[in-house]
Symmetry: C3
Subunit: 300 residues, 3 copies
């Protein structure tokens, strides 16, 4: 009677982490998750679908389990797709996530500098109470807009999200925009594949009431050779115009060995350099972070 | 080695709700759930079964997930069925739930007036520590009795539940009774299908130590035409004999369009009118509630 | 795309329990659980696997669900198996669990006297942040070692676990050792099957800074006859050398009727006798515990 796909990812590393001057050896969860999804064909080109996804700590099994990663029901057809519930901003998938190729933007080497005022304040928990509409693909071009309801009787502010993707063979372009009240961000992304090389990058512009404006960019490269992948990426967040000394750099070098399409063993080194007024990754102003990691990612 | 059925319901509406004089637009979860169940044939007509069911917020993915909706192991055969664990009172399924046809008694248009002293104090979380026995069907008639253990060394009170169902072709009758200490309720229900019409209703009598007695009834009608269903229901809870001005009315008009057996798009308007001493739905004495809702329900 | 096995156990009893002089009737959960696991063949004898397991209360559906029972990703091949995450100590499976045959060491008749300083302080929640290596089977002999990372920058102590198993036809031997800081335990186990009889036992030696040393042993026997099993086991924990009057006895007699390989109906009586300075099972010094239980265990 049912056709549910059960899927997930267990992604665990052993890391030597340095926060400021303190070092420790830890087992690190890298956004492990389990989910349930399905699509029902309603006839006439119309489909109904759902997706429920829970995160968990693969290092200690910690929860509690809930569907705050994704909780969606949708209807789709020739008109596009209508989505209701809780899900990750498409502006993020169109920009920062797209070029975070070495470990799916998870764990300690995830992009610490990308900042979405609608999303990040909730520690990148998906934004709830969302109504989204996605256009059908028009020659490789899709557009998606979403509103996240504030649900207050007075005073709340809705969150807005807009994303565009355009795929032209080896070149793929994306753009994202989000806004809540007068805080907003715009991102532009490009990725190009030439043989075994993939090069990608994005530029992000933030504009907020309190902290002012900020420029943030990232460049990422991958070289694939058989089962092996070499990765290098570098990001720089310039200072918030109203926050002194608030710039930071992040760079990561990684190596993946694909044991199969579902399973890889991998290693990386990542470093975040915070200026005196920046607290990326560490939540402590001026404190740097670095980690050397070895691990396994298994998709099911 | 295993034969588990994974099932669930994602039921999400966008609603314009009015509580007293305040209005707001919200995304509303309507008792979304996910569950696991199975039956094992033990031979000789004997079967073992289990069912585990968790609720979640489809609007925001909220949890935490647990099996407080249902957590049951059972044995069944020619003798009937023996059930152990945590599950919804059968007295409710036999009465209020049976005639709440337009949206499965979920969300803001659920029956706000039905009251079970064993169950409702726990916000309709299922009643734990329950041992139940269900008779086999005797010419369309089944009876089920349950006791919910208080688990105290002194002073606790067990909860009791009794339900009867009798199906005679187009006419279906049900009755429910529950009691804890000296608080009790009795419900009687009838439903009749004539062609495209289904008419149903129940009458409930409450009797409690503090609030005294109360009469509550509901009438519900459905008209089905192809994929469309028109629904109308009206309920009235008379005053508790010891609580001044405690009567209330609730009515709902709804339209369902069945995209398939599993998926419907729907809309409804529902209203609860509380007298000065009644707080149904709003938990605030004398404050009314209404909502206009549009949504999608997808079963999997 | 996926090959996940969904498995679990619903194990519920109704018990008459006596704690000190107070009696009560309860519905008891016996380590009910639900899990997801899978193995991927990577070719060349190499495999990747995962296992995620959550406990829940079958009596009331209580949670919250999380994977604190097990959260593991592993790689295995001719070299043995490498495991990362959170899982039950193998030293326990090799000793106390192996001979707890009547109800899988769950519920009120579980082994109250076995004590692992790495594991028990966490109420037998599995030990997190664990890296383990298991040898391949060498003529029936396997060895597994694990370290549980403390993850502190200063002052923490890793937990260590070592287990050996040797199966020689009807005779099966096992040993377990664990240590954290200067607290340690060593266990030795044997089990022998002769026709319908299985006899097993283990001896455990504890050595700790504060409480000193302790000897603990258990003997367990099973007689199987068709679908029926008769069980008897007895354990005795001698006093901790530095804790006055801290010895205790536990004995259990049980009867299982296997309705199938997956489902049994069963009954047992269990008793823990604590001396004035012992608090096994009851967490109250000198207070005894006993229970008569009837129930159903269903695996899926």
């Amino acid at each position: 009677q049912s056709s549910v796909t059960l899927y997930g990812r267990v992604n665990t590393t052993v890391e030597r982490q340095k926060i400021g001057d303190d070092s420790r050896t830890v087992m690190q969860n890298n956004s492990s998750r389990i989910g349930f999804k399905g699509v029902e064909d309603l006839g006439g080109g119309l489909k109904a679908g759902f997706q429920l996804e829970a995160g968990f700590g693969s290092d200690d099994g910690s929860g509690p389990l809930n569907f705050s990663r994704q909780s969606e029901v949708n209807l789709s057809g020739g008109f596009g797709m209508l989505r209701l519930g809780n899900f990750t901003p498409e502006s993020y998938f169109a920009t920062a996530d797209y070029v975070s190729m070495h470990n799916h933007d998870t764990g300690t080497s995830s992009d610490a500098l990308y900042y979405d005022p609608v999303w990040t304040p909730l520690q990148r928990a998906a934004v709830p109470n969302k109504i989204a509409y996605r256009t059908p693909s028009l020659g490789g071009f899709t557009l998606e807009g979403a509103v996240s309801l504030h649900e207050q009787t007075t005073g709340g502010k809705n969150g807005y999200d807009l994303a565009a993707n355009y795929n032209m063979g080896p070149l793929a372009l994306g753009a994202g925009y989000s806004q809540i009240d007068s805080d907003k961000q715009l991102g532009l992304r490009a990725a190009y594949t030439i043989g075994q090389f993939t090069l990608g990058g994005y530029y992000q512009r933030n504009d907020e009431d309190l902290r002012g404006t900020r420029n943030n960019f990232r460049l990422a490269g991958m070289y694939a050779m058989g089962a092996s992948e070499l990765h290098l990426n570098f990001g720089r967040a310039a200072k918030w115009s109203n926050v002194a000394d608030s710039s930071a750099n992040q760079w990561t070098v990684g190596y993946n060995y694909n044991l199969s399409k579902r399973t890889k063993a991998y290693a990386f080194y990542t470093k975040v350099d915070n200026k005196a007024g920046a607290a990326y990754m560490t939540d402590a102003a001026g404190v740097d972070f670095s980690s050397f990691a070895v691990g396994v990612r298994h998709n099911f």
